[in-house]
């Protein structure tokens, strides 16, 4: 797999897992109208994952679901389970959208027209995500829960990006980059504790009848 393909797979895995984490709020979001809106964001993310997997493989479903848990390259930030904590959910949303924007921006400049084209489409959908994140960030600005969550998740957000984009993220948030020992254990490949259980559940139906069409 080329370096670019690896990056695309990382983004796809992030979006797949984050899409699922966000869809965990379906039916139990703080406000009904927000429930509907947030679900659209989750669907977009799963849709982005699908489009990226389709770029990488003839069989996007196989790529999405048939790997061993250790073969997934999602970042811990996407994997963390926050329901029913809305403060941390929004903190992650704000951090993730900003970080994702930086790497999508990079992909938009790709030599490969398929990659650049898809990055453009993803970017246009994520305009709405960013507006939504900013809207909530504005409302929760003074909330201790939210501020603490931002502090807690900051190293995770940094660890999500390649080193060349980390400065950009720090500049965007007006924060300092965490020291290396704070980033230890947060890099891709070091999955969160309940990742194996999450993988089990995510693949249980698919594995129940091997090779079946669903």
């Amino acid at each position: 797999m080329s370096a670019q393909e690896q990056l695309l797979l990382q983004i796809a895995d992030d979006e797949l897992v984050l899409g699922w984490r966000n869809s965990e709020w379906t039916g139990i979001a703080p406000v009904l109208e927000e429930d509907v809106a947030f679900s659209s964001i989750a669907q977009n993310e799963i849709g982005h994952a699908r489009a990226l997997y389709q770029l990488l493989s003839e069989d996007a479903d196989a790529l999405a679901f048939d790997r061993r848990p250790e073969e997934y390259s999602c970042s811990p930030l996407a994997e963390l389970r926050f329901v029913p904590d809305w403060g941390r959910t929004i903190a992650r949303h704000v951090l993730y959208e900003a970080a994702d924007r930086l790497r999508i921006e990079q992909l938009k400049a790709s030599d490969d027209p398929d990659v650049a084209g898809l990055a453009g489409k993803i970017d246009r959908e994520e305009v709405y995500h960013r507006l939504h994140a900013e809207m909530w960030a504005d409302r929760l600005r003074e909330e201790p829960r939210y501020r603490e969550a931002l502090d807690e998740l900051w190293p995770y957000a940094v660890a999500m990006l390649e080193p060349d984009l980390q400065e950009g993220l720090a500049a965007h948030f007006g924060r300092d980059l965490p020291s290396n020992n704070l980033l230890q254990g947060l890099e891709r490949g070091s999955h969160v504790e309940d990742w194996p259980a999450l993988w089990e559940e995510m693949t249980m139906v698919r594995r129940s009848v091997a090779g079946a069409t669903w």
Binding site: V31, E33, E34, V36, A37, S40, Y128, L131, H132, M135
Partner: protein, 106 residues
């Protein structure tokens, strides 16, 4: 308009009007509860447009809308309506006078 001013309800109510296709009228579609206009826009956008069912929306605080329902017509003002004009009899007489009356079985 409903209970617009009850403080127990969930936030400010915004009415949503949707246009299904360019050229069509905006029709009232429903309402969302939201803390402010930005949230109302986001919520209306998803509730009334996530499936491409609308090309445009108007989002308006309920308090900005006034309803008018009282249209008295006590003295039968049919002079400026189509139902105030029955020309059948006069037309028949005019045709007879001009000799242009159509045979009855046509």
């Amino acid at each position: 308009m409903g209970a617009a001013r009850d403080p127990r309800r969930s936030g400010v109510i915004y009415e949503v009007f949707r246009q299904e296709r360019k050229g069509q009228a905006f029709e009232h579609a429903g309402s969302v509860a939201a803390p402010d206009a930005a949230f109302a826009d986001a919520y209306a956008h998803e509730q009334y447009g996530r499936r491409g069912e609308s090309v445009a929306l108007w989002v308006v605080p309920r308090d900005a809308i006034r309803e008018i329902e009282d249209f008295p017509d006590e003295l039968g003002k049919n002079y400026h309506r189509v139902d105030g004009y029955s020309l059948k009899v006069k037309l028949k007489e005019a045709r007879e006078r001009a000799g242009t009356a159509a045979p009855p079985d046509r």
